[in-house]
Symmetry: C2
Subunit: 180 residues, 2 copies
């Protein structure tokens, strides 16, 4: 087994793009390989660190800074972390990257708004279109795609399992996780 | 060197009781021994996780729950953590204890309000007495001392170095840190 190394696999992408689904596949496989792992999923973080924050630019930024603060604490102690928040703003992701210099792996989970809206697993796009949800990323709030992500995961072209394998291959090549 | 084990050394005590001073001595010594360590000091947490929260009972509880959430993430991954927040309410400390079952070490940093007020390193007691600061623990807000703390650190009777040694002895006996 490879030595544990700390890294932060930072997913970014629209609601419905597949961040959580891919995370679940990864968690199962990484646990099977005996790797430590923590997941800071958007909902977990909103519940435990950011209750009371809304979805204005300022509140989103605060939320993402908290995710980065905790991801840094873990990854600098050799605990691998996956974050799975929309994290729509490039500047905030770059802030997280700078904080976790050398440990930050940006994974852009790519799917068009049209495709995410077609999936609409949680029914959120429908609520955003009807105006029931305001400030919804991709509909009424901006999403800024990464320009230099370490990984681009095209979930219109591949299944969650294929996406997970693309990521596992990358992490193995970097010597960050035990081999299969 | 002993295997790294995760634990949470949870300080509780009035402002000025000596939590931060003792923490600083501990950090220096534990780093010297090659132990991993993270410190979640009251100010660090207020800055990074709880900006916008005040000092009402509800906001204090939210703050302490966030400290416990992060301390749990770290300690369950074998990263020792020191928390140094006033944490005045027994119920919230007991919640943290339950969450970190078997990893939680409560250290009551004991000094009377009179003594802390006499020290008044940050000038906060003066501001609390004049009414400039509201809801100040020990003056205008309650402090509930622990009933079954693993450690009682009497900072009216001993120096910060003596207090740190009392704690180091305990952690060594428990097999939680490398020997000197």
């Amino acid at each position: 087994m490879a030595a544990e190394k700390g890294f932060c696999l930072w997913f970014t992408g629209l609601s419905g793009s597949g961040k959580t689904t891919i995370t679940n596949v990864l968690v199962k496989e990484l646990r099977r390989r005996g790797s430590k792992l923590e997941v800071l999923d958007g909902d977990i973080v909103r519940q435990n660190l950011s209750k009371g924050l809304g979805f204005s630019k300022e509140d989103r930024d605060t939320n993402i800074r908290r995710v980065a603060f905790v991801a840094d604490l873990l990854s600098r102690n050799e605990v691998p972390v996956i974050t799975a928040a929309i994290s729509p703003y490039r500047q905030l992701r770059d802030e997280a990257r700078a904080k976790m210099d050398g440990r930050f792996i940006e994974a852009y989970v790519k799917a068009s708004v049209e495709e995410c809206e077609r999936r609409d697993v949680k029914g959120l796009y429908a609520k955003a279109r009807s105006g029931e949800i305001k400030e919804f990323t991709g509909v009424s709030d901006p999403y800024e795609p990464p320009e230099n992500a370490e990984l681009v995961i095209d979930t219109e072209e591949q299944s969650p399992e294929e996406s997970a394998h693309q990521i596992l291959d990358y992490l193995e090549q970097q010597g960050l996780i035990p081999a299969a």
